[in-house]
């Protein structure tokens, strides 16, 4: 068989087409597999009592029990849980943005004695298992009477925490040209003004990434909320959901309804801010070099 140039090209296109098809099939299959648990969760959440146990599995419930949501959300004070989680999360995000920006600025732009040392300390804290400080901090919090308040969940993470965010911001700040600083300095600006009027406005993408990552981390916090929040009015969504689980052990439809409610805000926030998420993660992963 004589192979013409045209024939070879057609073969290549055909192989390419097959390859693209295979790639798409795989990607779609994986996407379906990843989203399946969420779909199943919602499907179960809308099922009538007993209907969640039918075989073969029923994907679209009949009847659709929207009342499950009301029943799940009112049996425990989920509105309080939501408010608490939001309070703690927002406090942490705002506090972290401020403290991490200040610290990152110091590391990136201020030439002070011991700068390298302290930056290495910051990095070292990233590798520290959190349980090392869990025990002594619990004792300290007890002595301070901070147990059953939001303080243990906000103060240590804002002050002394956030090493990862300091790292992200510092890498970003270091990439901003110093000429801008110098221009401002010639106009008489001190460090504070340089930070607020030059650096921060330029660092919006990095700040947004920090805000989003911090939001997620705090919204999903479990262990420390479990340790420190005793009374019902103080509990967060994650703890509330756990409590729900221990009380409604086999009522899977209600548990899935509660789970849906806990999951929705984060997913909504994610779609709203996903650009900052994914870019933020990539930003940090690569800027480590």
């Amino acid at each position: 068989m004589v192979e013409t140039a045209g024939g070879a090209r057609r073969q290549a296109h055909f192989r390419n087409g097959i390859r693209t098809l295979v790639v798409y099939v795989l990607m779609i299959a994986l996407a379906v597999a990843m989203m399946l648990p969420f779909v199943w969760m919602v499907s179960t959440a809308l099922k009538a009592r007993g209907a969640e146990f039918t075989y073969p599995p029923q994907w679209v419930p009949d009847p659709v029990k929207w009342g499950n949501f009301r029943e799940a959300l009112t049996s425990l004070p989920f509105h309080l849980f939501f408010r608490n989680t939001l309070t703690i999360t927002l406090a942490n995000v705002v506090g972290t943005l401020i403290v991490a920006s200040m610290s990152a600025y110091a590391f990136a732009r201020v030439n002070f004695f011991g700068r390298k040392f302290w930056f290495r300390v910051v990095l070292a804290t990233m590798m520290l298992p959190s349980v090392i400080t869990m025990v002594p901090n619990y004792i300290i919090m007890t002595k301070l009477n901070w147990v059953d308040t939001f303080l243990p969940l906000t103060v240590p993470s804002i002050l002394g925490g956030g090493a990862f965010y300091i790292f992200i911001l510092r890498q970003f700040f270091a990439g901003i040209p110093r000429e801008l600083d110098e221009a401002a300095r010639m106009d008489g600006a001190g460090h504070l003004r340089i930070l607020f009027q030059i650096i921060l406005p330029l660092a919006k993408p990095a700040l947004a990434s920090v805000a989003v990552l911090s939001f997620i981390a705090n919204w999903n916090e479990f262990l420390y909320a479990l340790i420190y929040l005793d009374s019902m009015e103080k509990k967060t969504l994650s703890i509330g959901l756990r409590l729900f689980q221990t009380q409604y052990v086999t009522r899977w439809n209600l548990m899935m309804a509660a789970s849906t409610v806990v999951v929705l805000p984060v997913i909504a926030m994610f779609f709203f801010a996903q650009k900052y998420f994914v870019e933020g993660v990539a930003l940090t992963g690569l800027s480590g070099r």
Partner: protein
């Protein structure tokens, strides 16, 4: 710059000359051997002022508690009576307590089997997404989603799917004519199920791999292609070495995080069945918060720190064999 100094000559170095330079607005000083200019002091004060919030917190919530924790690990303390010094008793107990050993074994299983699987899956998916097809960002978002969901909710969903009586997984097996499994209630299967659950959250790791893959210079893979390398050879000899720093980073992070697994075990199995999923941090939590045995818990925490440190150092040492840096790391 060459400095020549004789017994009766004083020369000044460039640093001193710089520090003596008069900045606009400052008054001139008599020439003296001084390194601390007003400017330097200002810079230092500014630096530490900006750092102060973090620094204060670091001392209050990290440095001092670490010291307290070391002290506590040598005592018996339950919060009501003052700590009683015990010397190395806690540390000796660590190796005699069968639950400590069991939890270490469980955690090791979960980490050393789970992390490689997890990393390979994340890398595989990243390679898939790196193919030149359109709509990648949608898929990237979808794959990322499970990782941002609160762990309690995610765990509950999987518990329901793997429910031995009515869960989707066993329904699927039934449909395929296979016998139902007990999953999280089975001593042999429980950890494997937890590993499977963790893979659902591989989004962020995958995104890191994807970014690294996209940064591999195309000239290198094209050169290999021209030299006759097939896809697998190109991956093994060009792509993988080029992304090895990121792979290394992901593995270290994966090990450190996996070794501290808590929430899924707490929610799904409470450490059961028969302590098959009693992981180290779960047991530590129990010892500290439920038994109020703070001294022993502190010792456990330090053992964990030591293990993680050794693991990380070992990986760093081994990394010289297989991690390739295009640019020398700083």
């Amino acid at each position: 710059m060459v400095k020549r100094r004789t017994a009766d000559e004083r020369s000044i170095s460039t640093d001193e000359a710089a520090s003596l330079a008069v900045a606009p607005g400052e008054s001139a000083r008599p020439m003296r051997r001084r390194r601390l200019s007003r400017r330097t002091i200002r810079e230092n004060v500014a630096g530490y002022l900006f750092l102060l919030p973090w620094l204060a917190g670091f001392l209050a919530w990290l440095a001092i508690p670490m010291g307290v924790s070391i002290y506590l690990s040598f005592t018996r303390y339950n919060l009501f009576k003052p700590p009683v010094w015990q010397g190395l008793v806690n540390y000796r107990e660590l190796f005699l307590d069968e639950l400590v050993l069991k939890s270490l074994a469980n955690t090791s299983y979960y980490t050393f089997i789970g992390v490689p699987i997890y990393t390979v899956v994340a890398l595989g998916v990243a390679v898939l997404l790196n193919q030149k097809v359109r709509g990648i960002s949608i898929f990237r978002t979808i794959y990322y989603l499970p990782a941002i969901v609160p762990a309690v909710a995610g765990t509950l969903i999987w518990m329901w799917i793997f429910n031995p009586d009515f869960g989707l997984a066993n329904m699927l097996l039934k449909g395929l004519g296979l016998p139902p499994q007990r999953w999280l209630y089975d001593i042999q299967q429980a950890k494997a199920v937890l590993i499977f659950m963790s893979i659902w959250g591989m989004g962020p790791t995958m995104v890191l791999f994807l970014a690294a893959l996209q940064n591999v210079p195309k000239e290198l893979t094209e050169a290999a292609y021209i030299d006759g390398a097939n896809a697998w050879q190109r991956f093994v000899h060009v792509t993988f070495p080029m992304i090895s720093p990121v792979t290394f980073l992901n593995m270290i992070n994966g090990f450190i995080a996996s070794f501290q697994i808590f929430t899924p075990a707490y929610i799904a199995t409470s450490g059961g069945p028969a302590n098959a999923t009693l992981f180290y941090v779960l047991y530590l939590f129990r010892v500290a918060i439920q038994y109020l045995d703070f001294g022993f818990a502190a010792a456990m925490a330090w053992l964990l720190f030591f293990i993680i440190l050794v693991l990380t150092l070992l990986q760093i040492y081994l990394s010289r064999r297989w991690v390739y840096y295009e640019v020398a790391p700083d």
